[in-house]
Amino acid sequence: MSGDRIYPDEATGGFAAPPLSFEDREGREVEIRAFEPKELDAVSEMYADFDPADRAQGIPPTGEDRIEGWLSTLVEEGLNVVAWHGERAAGHATLVPDAENGETYELAIFVLQEYQEAGIGSRMMECLLGHGEAEGVERVWLTVERWNRAAVSLYEKMGFETSNAESFELEMSLRLH
């Protein structure tokens, strides 16, 4: 299914790598950093607080055990950035390599409800892609529910192009190198 995925011809690079500190639109001090293993509990807690209505295509999973199992795959195999408001994880974005080739990466981003619409998501995207770029990731893809206009325009702003519009979800892709 990923073997014939279409990617843009042109690379979109020059993303800022983490860390990145800024004040969000609500005046909160937020810092985005590459994930460190000792932060796993704080990120798990963020997902325990996640509103089920904000789930997409079955993730994040619900229940402590399922959240931990899912997160361990992401942090062991993928590249991750976390947005921090003090000690609290406000958002998490991840690039997970495709099992078949390890060259292409699937992207997902999650922002806790109370931190949404404050400019955190777009900065996390920037940092995640910057992190991926620095680590040599070449191609990134994602799927998004087509009614989720806010997410689609964020991805477009980052340089993602629609690569498959025939399914329930839109598939979008981007080339970093």
Binding site: M1, A56, Q57, G58, I59, P61, W70, T73, L74, E77, T94, V96, P97, D98, A99, E106, A108, T143, E166, S167, F168, E169
Partner: protein
């Protein structure tokens, strides 16, 4: 109930077969299992048919197995309508590396186009 099960040769359709057979035994459903020859799978239609036969026989069920050629989704929908099945059953929902559920093209087609109720086995 008169049930039509589509077998496309994926892990999901193995699960669907198992669940549908169990349910048919319990509920006394009339089961027809359709081996979808046009589906994109690694196993041969003969393998799929003997696997289905074995599972059905082991359960002591009297079910029909048939081969369906042509476009799998539209054929399933067509047969269900033409022959008056009450329900269509398909497997569906593969997970991406990220863990996102993705529905295959046959599943999507059946969900959108079937006139009868569809059970998606997960």
């Amino acid at each position: 109930m008169n049930v039509l099960l589509g077998i496309a040769g994926s892990d999901e359709s193995d699960d669907a077969l198992r669940e549908t057979v169990d349910r048919a035994v319990e509920a006394g459903d009339d089961l027809t299992a359709a081996i979808l020859e046009g589906a994109d799978h690694d196993r041969s239609a003969d393998d799929l048919e003997s696997q289905a036969r074995e599972m059905i026989d082991d359960a002591g069920l009297d079910a029909t197995i048939r081969r369906v050629s042509g476009d799998p989704g539209s054929e399933l929908v067509e047969i269900a309508e033409r022959e008056g099945f009450d329900r269509l059953v398909i497997g569906g929902g593969q997970r991406s590396p990220m863990g996102k559920i993705q529905l295959g093209s046959i599943t999507e087609f059946v969900l959108l186009n079937a006139q009868v109720s569809v059970t998606l086995v997960r």
